[in-house]
Symmetry: C4
Subunit: 313 residues, 4 copies
């Protein structure tokens, strides 16, 4: 259950934001290209979106912080255990600290886009810092673990620090669709990797129904078989095998190579999602523009006909 908070919860946040961004940024780009034809292309509309995004981010982060502190086995704001002379629930405190910076980032978003007081570029700077702090805490979080566990987290660090650099670049190249797409892909990657390494239900294995056999093979990598036909999908994962199941060999170099590869597949998958969403958005906007144009044309034609009929009269 502790793992749910640590991996599945942030994973869901990242996935949600990634999916939302994979719709928002293509929409913004397509609307900017077809300026006059788009009702959403206004700057004010997108600024309101950013504001709402900031509020949601801040609320999510607040929920995360409270959840980390006040779950039954949480620290309840106690930092040090005097009886046993050791730190109390350091993991929860670390996760709460991570959420704290996302919360600050959300607040800066709200002020920067809701009022006129703060320079707009501050939102990217704070988001970049929030991501960096996440990576920074992660980096010392994983000190002294077994090789495979370390590797799984190190892979995540690549995505996290990559995202931090990407967002930092956005401070200077604001509105670059390329950087925005890059950030989105890294965000989805993070989210899906968090889920991959959770012991919770494997959602993405449920999403590949057409190729059950292949799904089995991948899961076999975790030395379990995906029993989809029985309804209850009980799948073991890399980090936390269910009780009674054989654990992964933490020192096997081949496992490490497989995981690296698996990580790349996740990234390819993130690009697939991006491509699909981009296509849908482009297609919808284009069809709407055509519709609008044909209506306009129709109105024009009617107007002309009226004119003609008037002339005739």
């Amino acid at each position: 259950m502790g793992n749910f908070k640590g991996h599945a919860l942030p994973g869901s946040f990242f996935l949600l934001f990634g999916l939302w961004w994979s719709v928002k940024y293509p929409l913004k780009y397509v609307c900017r290209k077809n300026k006059n034809a788009c009702y959403l292309g206004t700057r004010a509309g997108f600024q309101r979106l950013e504001l709402i995004e900031g509020i949601i981010k801040a609320v999510f982060a607040l929920i995360g912080m409270i959840a980390e502190q006040f779950v039954p086995d949480g620290p309840h704001l106690k930092l040090y255990n005097y009886e046993e002379n050791h730190w109390d629930h350091l993991m929860n405190w670390q996760h709460a600290t991570m959420y704290l910076f996302y919360c600050i980032s959300g607040l800066v978003d709200i002020v920067a886009h809701g009022t006129n007081a703060l320079p707009v570029a501050m939102d990217r700077m704070m988001l970049s810092l929030a991501v960096f702090v996440e990576g920074f805490l992660f980096y010392y979080h994983i000190h002294g673990r077994a090789m495979l566990d370390l590797h799984v987290h190190q892979l995540l660090l690549v995505a996290i620090f990559g995202a931090a650099i990407c967002i930092f670049l956005e401070v200077f190249f604001r509105g670059s669709i390329v950087l925005e797409m890059f950030r989105t892909s890294l965000c989805i990657l993070q989210g899906s990797w968090f889920w991959q390494t959770t012991k919770w239900l494997c959602i993405w294995s449920l999403l590949i129904p057409y190729k059950l056999d292949y799904c089995r093979i991948i899961q076999a990598g975790t030395e379990f078989v995906c029993m989809r036909k029985e309804g209850a999908t009980k799948i073991g994962f890399v980090l936390y095998p269910p009780n009674g199941s054989p654990e992964w060999n933490q020192m096997d170099h081949n496992n490490m190579m497989f995981l690296t590869m698996c990580y790349c597949w996740h990234y390819a998958f993130a690009f697939l999602i991006l491509a699909v969403n981009y296509t849908i958005v482009s297609w919808r906007v284009c069809s709407k523009i055509k519709q609008a144009q044909s209506v306009e044309m129709g109105l024009l034609k009617t107007a002309e006909r009226d004119q003609e009929s008037e002339d005739e009269i």
Copy 2:
């Protein structure tokens, strides 16, 4: 006492500069936005500020250098101890070298902003180099220490090299408020971390009177209790516990994780300071502008009334 020179003195310098910058840059930004309404918005005014800043920096650095050399237990310009065949007070020499580069940076500021001879961007370049040299000396300074001690200094290196990169970027993106705020936050972080790791009085624990209990918890992390009620605040710290107190366990991974987290809190605290100062500055400037405008309006109205009365006559 030696530690005072090494941690508390530079910490105070960094804090002072950080606090000053957290007022200066928002002021500059707000004044630039409301150009005509601001008496400080002139380029000449800010150039004079930069000049004064350079002088103060150079003087501070000079004081630092002299203090390092001529304190009672300093090297007094002696580099090598012939009697015992070892280097003499290398630490003091290193600190003096760090100050030397800040002194050079101050001199370049003075020449760049006081005369017309040097390109203005040279001031950022030299400041960036001064910060880099500080980090560079630090890096070899901490070679071969115990894990926790090393970690405390490594955390500082992140802020130092981050600041060096940020200032280097300012060479090309001069006057970017985002980079200036980023630099300010890192500067405050450095200063407060220097103080956190000193054995001097814990200033910031005195600043949190409203939540004494929480203060106790944090201090408990250092295995001491903040006895604020007795007047004399005797608090032990991470690196230098007072005599007779149990030292930190240098090899405990949990301590390392706590310190990393604590460092992040310092950073959040730096942003809090920034936010407060930014708000105050914005609010003061805006209220002054409104006042000026209302005075103007009043004068206009009086003038109009006079006109009207004249017309009546």
Copy 3:
């Protein structure tokens, strides 16, 4: 034979692309300089080239993926060996993953240059990511090998990550001839180094006929003699000595230094190729322009003469 797929095949791809780019980019640059005189200087012409390049890249990558999977000793899409409980042909899977990202990059090229839907800069971003993923997989690929083997691959990583950074910079500085030449040189370097470390025929030793003795000396470095006079060039290489030949001493520091140096010679060689191709392209284009101008001049002169003769008449 397995090595052929892993080193010689990608090496050939990189060499082909490098050589093609060493013709294309100088041509583009020279044409842009002499705008009106060049039939290829049109934007549309180069966009079609990019499209074709994308198609070829995607097809090559597809061939690579299929070859990795379905060669006689390939995995045939099987990932896990249930009988012996270990991963099946992980190397092939890794190579296929590398090709996958190049394939995605090719597809993005096709969409970005063939249609109007995608921002053009996406092609560089995806290529940069494909190169980065190659390096990323390589990095964990080489974990735990012998020193010299590791070193040979690490040298490659310098070129790979260098290329990834260079292409990423092209997102922002698109069309910069300097970055394009830099990328081309790194691409040729990669290709030639892949070949250098293959046990296949040493192609570049055949290309230096004028200094056979020197060729012998280099090959001697691999403890073999280049028997060019017998027709069959049987040369052993660093990583995979032919059966029966003495292997390289994997732990000798001198071997490592030699290989580093050899790598630099490859790079100098890449620049030689670039210089030669650049010269040829410049010279051809210039001579064509002169020809065209003289034809024009001739036509003009004829026209003038006609005019004159008309006047005379």
Copy 4:
């Protein structure tokens, strides 16, 4: 003697170039500021300078290559020793390879500034690569040495890679005086550090006559006394103590710290040289401009007086 080629020769090259640049770039900057008043401010003049610089660089590099190969104890183009089955004079080959890339850089300079064929920015790119290759070879050069020896070379790597990055930035920010000054300072640093670590005569100790006592102290660091009064300055240095002298303790952490500090002093010294040269150049140009202006004024006045006298007549 072998050390002379390896440290003192490149050190002299770097020092010469650094000193020349510390004159050239300030001159260029001052001339650009006072455009009409400067006979050297023409683009053509500086392009010719760049051309000459390229030629000198190429010639120096060629001399270096030949010197490395054909000194009495050089390899004479022999790479492998068949009798004893080991590499022959690998060091000399490595140094020759370094010179090779500087030679290529010189050639590119010549073509880029002498003809119109190559884009001008290529000269910075090649110089950056040449510096990078130097650092790259150095990096593997120092593998497996004693701690202090390693450290001395690692310090150099900071300057080398810093210069490579700086020159690479110049590709995009060409003509930025800040980057040019930065590069110059790193170049002087490299040169002076090469000399510091040579067993040749200590030139810079001869340059500080006014503070002999301090000079003694520094040299004492190398456990020798600078016997300046006897005429023959026999000074031992860090890496290569003269025969019979006690060597440095390679494992003492204090020695490492001293050297790091000493390196920083060298850098401060480089800035001193830069400042002095900058001042002289600025002052000379300004005085020339004033002179020219007063001559002009004089001529004007004479002309006016003539006019007046003419009027009087």
